[in-house]
């Protein structure tokens, strides 16, 4: 390993069934979100409706909420003074890096410290490499070694550190666009890492969608590939020796799906070859269809471009190494602070030069759309801080640097072939190849590539499918886990293709979609069946009856007559996007004191979506009162001393069964903020914690209050159970009882010595783990959690209080735990949210400019927690989707963002005038029942507008575009043909 940290050495606690448990030897980790804590409750109305976001006042008054807002002097315990650093970067990827030249700075602006690769190497400060993330996930070197050629544009070669801001700022300004500061030597040509991986998903259905398939990835195997140059190679159907793939990585978001290629080859060689035989059958059927007049075969090449997510807060971090206490203090803008802490621990572990015994991590409110999830930036910050000469070191990208170093959405080249029956319009085959450009660091590229391929079907059922994908290494700036995660690229092109197929069949485009839409119980292209009713047909029916769709031809005639030089078009697209990762976790602590003050400490991290508001609403809806103190971004729950091997995706059933005997073991500990996972998966724990207190604390306390007084009180002559309890303004009521203020409930609960606090941890592998917990006074409770701890009230007997020895809580050791089976790792995604969009636009035939006049969205959000947050996500997603469809685009290589000259002057982002800000509308499907869970939606909302816009342009001018974005120049060229 590049880091020199041998995983087996690192883990000292022991080895269980071949899996080493490591958490115990990590430096103590602590992370929490800056500026969460005591708050007023004015943001929530007495009836539980949200008047404004919990964090609204801090944000609207410009308080320090982002990591970027803090300097060392603002952080308790940190030094008053701090240092600042910035990188010099390589913009030549064909010549070896030689050295740097800072002579242009003169003597006064020379850095206090110049850091190069050799300095870091000498001190053992190396890029962390974790086995569960795969080889080269964060690249090879922090700083490019002299004599090496940069593997990607914009690779840092040196870090300049200044002990005061004024010199730092002046030097940085002087070196911006300076091309002579980095010197190159011999020409080497491109030197890139090996390609990241190739995979292929083949399925041939049985007689019916629900019959056992002849071949399916879940039933048989995913086919893993190797490369000949940049071309994927696959096992041959006829055996000629074992075929060992390049790499094997299950396409789970968040990592952890790495498997040994040789072992997988040995285990699945035979089914992979059968899969290739199945692919051969599909290819033969396509060829036969080309010669069959009853069949329609459409083959198209498409392209979805590289974009910069352009999160308004550029990447930044601030870190301080306190050698006297061997403590690493880190403030970081990250969507996954827990992951930062975990990887940081690997990075610094056993470093002799800079020994670290404790890491204290604080994170800010942030925003990233994926770009701050598993980014290398936090680790650059940590590496830098060892060289601050005792001062904290702050790194904060400006926008040029952000374009140069920040993660991008993958560009993907696509080749799709669809076979349909001309008479019925039913789809028969989808064959596609997705060539995913991962740039020069591996990151999640192979995972994104696979998710793209497995999303290719959009909302349709295909009896036969052959979906291949490759993640290739190039000199482009690194691409990673961006909003949409490959599905935006794949489904957009599929949805453009569907419209062309409809046109060639002479069929209404929505009618064709209805005939082929996935229905409840239909398997996807991997063979998995999604949770519940997809509701695709319902949404298609709504779209087909919308006036924009119904009247589009008359509207076109009328508009074009009234607006010479403009062409009118309406387009539609519908998609569905998964949410969750397949190893979803949540953890929180929820407690109240005798005065009724509720405290919630929660793992959820605010990334702008309003998740921290929604989690509190969930508590209010059950307990009648929102938390008085809320702390988010928590990563260290002393009440839940859990440990994990962090291999939830690759664990075997035998390993899991053995590890699960330890009541402190869980498959994974804390989530990243990604995969649209907050409202359903992370909120699941919140709802369970509040429900637990409602049933086991609020109910007995309320019973005692309602039963007090003469003749057994108001409760005596009726019948009421805990299920009748309802949150009412100011407290708890239900069953016709007089409402009780939560404060009175709390007082009584403490007097009675009831449970007054609960900390819990939940885990889902497309199914929630359950276990029995024997809780004193409550008996055995079977709960959808894998760890729980409780706190007893003030008047609880000493014997109970004596048990509160784990972070002040009584950790209840579970029994009869039922973790979801390891087999469910092969189930693929099961939680989806459908979304559709109708776009009305006009095209200026002189300039090629597209004006979005109106759009109407359709979404199935389940039971909504905070309506304004949902519509806000949806409106924002639409704008981002319009940017992808029409304007945002980055060249990949020498003239791309890696050259350090890109900024918003060249990179056009959607403004209000581009998004039909005043006219847009939306319809949200009513939940099927009041028990339908809320659905993750932050990603899906930006996807259908992309293809709907493309289809509308086609309606306007008659030309089909499969290469995104559809810029004014492309349209002008098409109009000139």
């Amino acid at each position: 390993m590049a880091s020199g940290i041998n995983r087996r050495d690192f883990i000292k606690l022991g080895t269980f069934a071949g899996i080493t448990v490591m958490f115990g030897r990590l430096p103590a980790l602590q992370a929490r979100e800056v500026h969460s804590g005591a708050q007023t409750s004015e943001w929530m109305a007495p009836d539980g409706s949200v008047k404004y976001r919990w964090d609204a006042i801090r944000k609207v008054t410009g308080e320090k909420v982002f990591a970027r807002d803090f300097r060392s002097k603002n952080l308790p315990g940190w030094p008053e003074k701090q240092a600042h650093g910035f990188f010099l970067k390589a913009t030549d990827v064909e010549h070896a890096f030689d050295d740097i030249d800072l002579s242009m700075l003169g003597p006064d602006l020379q850095p206090d410290r110049v850091l190069k690769h050799a300095d870091l190497e000498k001190d053992g400060v190396r890029v962390p490499e974790l086995a569960d993330l795969g080889v080269g996930f964060y690249g090879q070197d922090f700083l490019l070694p002299a004599g090496n050629t940069a593997p990607l544009y914009g690779h840092p070669v040196a870090l300049l550190i200044f002990h005061d801001f004024d010199r730092f700022e002046a030097a940085k300004r002087r070196l911006r666009f300076e091309t002579t500061a980095v010197k190159y030597g011999r020409k080497t040509g491109l030197i890139q890492p090996p390609n990241y991986g190739a995979a292929r998903y083949v399925r041939i259905a049985g007689e019916t969608p629900s019959a056992p398939p002849a071949f399916a990835p879940i039933q048989d195997a995913v086919i893993w590939g190797d490369f000949d140059g940049d071309t994927p190679t696959w096992p041959k159907a006829d055996p000629d020796g074992i075929f060992v793939p390049r790499s094997v990585l299950l396409p789970h978001r968040g990592g952890g799906g790495v498997r040994d290629p040789l072992k997988v080859a040995q285990q699945t060689d035979e089914p992979m070859r059968r899969g290739m035989a199945a692919a051969g059958i599909i290819e033969a059927e396509i060829e036969a269809a080309r010669n069959n007049p009853a069949k329609l075969v459409v083959q198209r090449q498409g392209f979805s471009q590289s974009i910069d997510p352009s999160a308004m807060e550029p990447d930044n971090g601030n870190a301080w190494y306190d050698a006297s206490t061997r403590t690493l203090h880190v403030l970081i803008a990250a969507q996954s602070p827990y992951e930062v802490a975990r990887v940081a621990a690997f990075m610094v572990k056993d470093n002799k030069r800079f020994p670290v015994e404790k890491i204290e991590l604080v994170s800010g409110t942030t925003v990233g759309y994926g770009s701050k999830d598993h980014s290398i930036f936090p680790f650059y910050t940590i590496a830098a801080c060892f060289y601050g000469d005792g001062l904290p070191v702050r790194l904060a990208n400006d926008r040029y640097e952000q374009f140069q170093l920040g993660m991008k959405r993958h560009s993907i080249e696509m080749d799709l072939t669809l076979v349909a029956d001309r008479k019925t319009g039913k789809f028969e085959v989808l064959k596609a190849f997705y060539n995913c450009n991962g740039g020069g660091r591996a990151n999640f590229s192979f995972s994104v590539a696979q998710v793209a391929a497995t999303a290719a079907q959009s909302i349709y059922y295909f009896p036969k499918s052959d979906l291949a994908t490759a993640a290739i290494a190039t000199a482009a700036v690194e691409a990673g886990s961006m909003r949409g995660y490959g599905t935006l690229q794949a489904m957009s092109i599929t949805e453009l293709l569907i419209d062309e197929v409809a046109a060639q069949l002479g069929m209404d485009a929505i009618e064709l979609r209805k005939r082929n839409a996935l229905q409840a119980g239909d398997p996807n292209t991997q063979g998995a069946v999604q949770l519940g009713d997809p509701r695709n047909l319902e949404m298609l029916d709504l779209a087909s009856s919308h006036p924009l769709w119904l009247n589009r031809e008359q509207a076109k005639v009328k508009y074009e007559a009234a607006n010479p030089g403009r062409r009118y078009g309406v387009g539609f697209a519908q998609v569905q996007k998964d949410y969750g990762t397949g190893a979803d976790t949540t953890a929180l602590l929820l407690e109240f004191d005798a005065a009724g003050k509720i405290t919630m400490r929660h793992c959820v991290q605010e990334i702008g979506t309003g998740a921290t508001t929604a989690q509190q609403v969930m508590v209010q809806r059950l307990l009648g009162k929102a938390p008085d103190i809320a702390i988010f971004g928590e990563t260290n729950f002393a009440q839940l001393p859990l440990k994990s091997n962090f291999e939830p995706f690759s664990i075997t059933q035998e390993q899991q069964d053995e590890l699960a005997r330890d009541p402190f073991w869980v498959p994974a500990i804390l989530p990243a903020m990604s995969a649209s996972n907050s409202v359903y998966f992370i909120g699941f724990g919140t709802r369970q914690a509040a429900q637990f207190l409602l049933e086991n604390t609020v109910w007995p306390a309320a019973q005692a209050i309602w039963s007090s007084g003469p003749a057994g009180g108001q409760l005596a002559s009726g019948y009421m159970t805990a299920k009748d309890l309802r949150a009412v303004p100011g407290g708890i009521g239900g069953g016709g009882m007089a409402p009780i203020a939560f404060e009175a409930i709390a007082r009584k609960a403490h007097e009675m010595g009831l449970v007054t606090g609960v900390a819990l941890h939940c885990f889902s592998r497309w199914q929630w783990a359950r276990a029995d917990f024997e809780i004193p006074g409550l008996g055995i409770k079977n709960l959808p959690a894998d760890a729980i701890a409780v706190r007893y009230g003030d008047a609880a007997p000493e014997s109970l209080k004596a048990r509160m020895s784990t972070g002040g809580y009584d950790f209840i050791k579970r029994s009869n735990v039922q973790f979801p089976s390891a087999q469910r790792n092969n189930a693929g995604v099961t939680t989806y949210t459908p979304a559709a969009c109708l776009v009305e636009l006009n095209v200026n035939t002189f300039t090629g400019h597209v004006e979005i006049m109106n759009h109407h969205s359709l979404l199935d959000p389940g039971n909504i927690i905070v309506p304004a947050l949902v519509s806000g996500q949806q409106q924002g997603g639409i704008a981002m989707g319009i940017g992808h469809a029409l304007m945002e685009e980055l060249p990949l290589y020498g003239d791309g963002p890696g050259n350090g000259t890109w900024n918003f002057n060249r990179y056009r982002l959607p403004r209000a005038k581009d998004v039909a800000v005043w006219t847009q509308t939306a319809t949200y499907l009513d939940p099927l029942t009041e028990t339908s869970p809320p659905k993750g939606l932050a990603e899906v909302v930006m996807i259908p507008v992309v293809a709907a816009t493309g289809n509308a342009i086609t309606h306007a001018i008659g030309t089909r575009f499969y290469h995104l974005p559809v810029t004014a120049n492309k349209i002008k060229k098409a109009l000139m043909l």
Binding site: A56, V60, A170, S310, V367, G608, Q875, A879, F904
Partner: protein
């Protein structure tokens, strides 16, 4: 190359700043952040394109205008009067927010922002716009297009702008004298 410094004096949020030596060439936003610890004004692009960094400059006649701080040297503001986001809401003697401005109040009630990074710039632009309407009212039919013109330079990446614009429309309609039929 060395750092040339010059004396700088200005008024920010009602407080006199300086005279203080400030580097020549340092953008105002850096001076605000790293010399005055006023970090609510947000850095977006450094080119004056995204308008995340705007503050209100109060002209000698009392009329506020919107000014970008990422493209102007701190010394450009010598002798001028600025209101940054920290100076918009009223605060009590403990420094706690006691009263939001109508624009700030509308933004929070409309759930106008998500990450909130661009919010200070939107507060600035919307405040300047509503103040301009008080001096020169707009016809109701033209209000939406005037809002677009006033705010279109501001980039928001989270919200799609809808709730910002609705909030500003709401304030304009509710503020006496801003909108005429």
């Amino acid at each position: 190359m060395s750092i040339e410094k010059r004396s700088l004096t200005l008024t920010i949020n009602g407080q006199k700043v300086g005279p203080v030596d400030a580097p020549v060439g340092m953008p105002m936003i850096d001076f605000l952040h790293d010399h005055l610890d006023l970090t609510g004004t947000r850095f977006g692009c450094g080119q004056g394109i995204c308008h995340a960094c705007t503050v209100m400059e109060i002209q000698p006649d009392g009329i506020p205008i919107e000014t970008r701080t990422c493209i102007f040297d701190a010394h450009f503001f010598n002798g001028k009067t600025l209101i940054t986001i920290e100076g918009q809401a009223k605060r009590d003697e403990h420094g706690e927010v006691s009263d939001l401005t109508p624009i700030q109040q509308a933004f929070i009630e409309h759930f106008s922002f998500q990450c909130g990074y661009c919010t200070p710039g939107f507060v600035t632009a919307a405040t300047v716009f509503v103040e301009s309407l008080k001096r020169q009212p707009v016809k109701r039919a033209d209000l939406q297009s005037r809002i677009e013109t006033a705010l279109n330079d501001h980039i928001c990446r989270c919200t799609g702008y809808v709730r910002y614009y609705q909030a500003v429309q709401d304030v304009a309609l509710k503020t006496p004298g801003c909108v005429i039929d």
